[in-house]
């Protein structure tokens, strides 16, 4: 893919010619193999090699034959031209014969024979001036041996010796034919020879060019095919995933309906709404109810994971103290731990800072980890949940769940966060859920800006840690300040207050307002909607820090107020009413001279002051 993208950037041909040249010898063999393809099936490996050699030898003879013929003509020996041409025709026909018949014996003998004959005729024609043709005579038995086999080699070796002997006999007896050199012929021959040579070179160049073009075309087509194929694969993968998502969503929906009835009636009977129930009945019903709850959690997990993969998992940014959340999680699971005789405790340091995360999701992560710990810890063990500042990075909180369970094999510590991974162990419960809990935990923690990991010694328990960012205004305001020297001249703080709204709806309403703020009139990449809770414990107050000019801020406030009114109107039953106030001021001059971090600190200080003032005003009104 990358190569093709580069290719379209420059000129595709010029980009790939250099490697083409480097690969030329290989390419030639590919061409030869392709030529011999009809016989590929009937030849074994050795025969294939010899067949290749046949083609190579034929091509070489043709290539050498032309200049030699020309050379002879330069010397005015016209009679050699038809002989040489005859040789070329026969030799260049050999590969085609081989292709058709597959007979190496025929090919080898044919080349050897025609070569020996030609050399003899050339010698006979040229007389004393043309000793060079005989230089090639040893080639005759060699070619025969390599192509047609050792017996042919021996035969043609004998033949060559006889031929040499014959000419030797002629020479010593003075019977060599004498050649008349006609000066006019010599003159013409030179030009014709030179012209044929030039033509031959041009022909070779043309052949090479065609070969190259063909190879390039093939290369491009292969690339195109590969791209098409990978696009198709990508598309089909996407479709499969989508189908799976829809399937999971559909199944979970279908499962929820009967589960709801089960859940409802069990709870009705358990709560004594359908008459009194006795001790054992209550116990069994409680077990049934707990299992229905587990089923619900499994469906929730499945849905969460599905969403996580398609990027739809909702994680909201909120500010909240972590201590109470941990205590809450522990309280919820205390009974379960108690049943197994496990001591479950939470301990959060007093001054534990406010985390910027989604409390519901944090609860889910801690719940998953604690449940896991209980699952893998034997009777009389203990599970401790602790929260403190992260010793490695003090802009994070670290929450740890330590158990005295069976531990995790060292090799598996990293894999346990993978989807559907589940440690196999004979000692643990037989029912362990779907093995999705840790995968979801990782997804949730990472989506909230933290990370999760485990430490474990087999046999002596495991500790799961995860981190959550601590809220700092300066950090939250990062998008407002771009780079050094690129600070904006003005910034605005828009202060939204929910003046009236029915109590029941306030949670949903607040979520709606935050959503509206994030999506409506602001630029998400440079304006900052402060998380819920950033303005202290004041529900119904929201703030946006936007980088705008003064007039821009007023317009922005007006537009926002309009959107909020429309929102309130849509949620008619909530009787909501909003007030939007915009506070704009110039960026302090010293911001231009400091680093980004310092600039953020200064800006955060100003924003904090403005928000505090707004809070006071609110208190007074």
């Amino acid at each position: 893919m990358a190569a093709s993208m580069d290719g379209t950037g420059v000129h595709p041909a010029s980009a790939s010619v250099a490697p083409m040249i480097a690969a030329a010898p290989g390419r030639l063999w590919v061409e030869v193999d392709r030529f011999l393809a009809p016989q590929a099936e009937s030849l074994n490996a050795d025969e294939r090699r010899r067949a290749r050699l046949t083609v190579a030898v034929s091509a070489s003879i043709v290539a050498l034959g032309v200049p030699i013929a020309c050379n002879l003509m330069l010397h005015g020996v016209w009679g050699n031209l038809p002989v040489t041409l005859g040789l070329l025709v026969v030799v260049s026909a050999v590969p085609f014969v081989l292709r058709r018949t597959g007979s190496l014996v025929l090919a080898g003998n044919a080349i050897a024979g025609v070569l020996a004959a030609t050399l003899a005729i050339l010698k006979f024609n040229s007389g004393t001036i043309a000793v060079p043709p005989f230089i090639f005579l040893p080639g005759v038995p060699l070619i025969a041996a390599l192509i047609a086999g050792p017996r042919a080699g021996v035969f043609w070796g004998g033949f060559a010796i006889v031929e040499l002997g014959f000419f030797y006999f002629l020479a010593i007896n003075g019977l060599e034919p004498m050649i008349e050199l006609n000066p006019e012929h010599l003159f013409r021959g030179r030009y014709v020879g030179a012209a044929v040579m030039v033509g031959f070179v041009l022909l070779l160049a043309q052949a090479y060019e065609r070969l190259k073009t063909r190879a390039l075309d093939e290369l491009r087509q292969a690339q195109r095919l590969a791209e098409e194929r990978s696009r198709e694969l990508e598309e089909s993968r996407r479709q499969q995933l989508e189908m799976k998502d829809r399937f999971v969503s559909h199944v979970s929906h279908e499962l929820r309906t009967p589960l709801t009835a089960l859940h409802q009636f069990l709870s009705i009977v358990l709560d004594g709404l359908a008459g009194k129930i006795e001790g054992e009945q209550r116990e069994y019903l409680a077990i049934a109810f707990r299992n229905a709850e587990q089923l619900r959690r499994m469906i929730d997990d499945l849905m969460d994971l599905n969403r996580a993969r398609s990027g739809k998992l909702r994680v909201e940014s909120d500010l909240f103290p972590v201590g109470p959340v941990l205590a809450d999680c522990v309280r919820n699971l205390e009974a379960r731990a108690g049943e197994k005789g496990i001591r479950l405790q939470a301990c959060a340091s007093e001054e534990l800072a406010v985390a910027q995360a989604d409390p519901t999701r944090v609860r889910q992560v801690v719940g998953n980890l604690v449940e896991n710990a209980i699952k893998f810890t034997p009777k009389d063990g203990r599970v401790d949940v602790t929260g403190a500042r992260d010793p490695d990075d003090d802009s994070f909180l670290r929450i740890s769940v330590r158990d005295t369970g069976c531990g995790i094999e060292p090799g598996a510590v990293d894999r346990i966060f993978d989807r559907l991974h589940q440690e196999q162990s004979a000692e643990t419960d037989s029912r362990l859920g779907l093995g999705l809990g840790l995968a979801i935990a990782r997804e949730l923690v990472e989506r909230q800006g933290g990370h999760i990991w485990a430490e474990s010694q087999p046999g002596s328990g495991s500790t799961f840690h995860f981190t959550l960012p601590i809220f700092e205004l300066a950090r939250a305001l990062r998008p407002c300040v771009l780079e050094e020297g690129e600070l904006r001249r003005n910034f605005s703080v828009l202060h939204v207050e929910l003046l009236r709204g029915s109590a029941i709806a306030s949670e949903g309403l607040q979520r709606g307002v935050l959503h509206l703020l994030r999506t409506s009139v602001f630029y998400p990449e440079r304006d900052v909607v402060l998380p819920k809770g950033a303005l202290g414990d004041a529900p119904g107050r929201f703030a946006v820090v936007a980088a705008t000019g003064a007039e821009g801020a007023e317009a922005l406030a007006k537009r926002l107020a309009l959107r909020l009114d429309r929102f309130a109107e849509a949620s008619k039953t909530c009787h909501a009413e909003f007030r939007v106030r915009a506070h704009t001021e110039e960026v302090p001059a010293e911001l231009d001279r400091c680093t980004r971090a310092e600039a953020l600190e200064i800006l955060a200080g100003r924003v904090e002051e403005i928000l505090r003032e707004a809070g006071h005003e609110r208190g007074e009104t």
Partner: protein, 122 residues
Amino acid sequence: MSSKKILIVDDDRDIRMGLGARLRANDFEVVFAEDGMGAIATARRESPDLVLLDIGLPAGNGYVVLDRLRKNTSLSGIPVVVLSARDAEENEKLALEEGAIAFFQKPADNESLIAAIRSAIG
């Protein structure tokens, strides 16, 4: 105190029954409808104090019902709580935008559901 009337709209008989039993036990009066058209008709006839609405319904789904209720002047003041088996992530926002006061996914926690209903009409 006269008990408040709640209209339960759900196409599943078992769920209607279960919800009915639970709400009755909490001193609410309940009426039922099993599809979208029925929901509007029953709401007109019975003028309930609150509607507990499913989304996946025959003859006009929950959103259609919400829309109709809001557009009808005599019914627009009735608070609607949506209780659906559908994906909460997608449907909660939509339901609230369409004018529901709360969204619960099935199976819902009884306490929170009752608390939400009470705070709306208590």
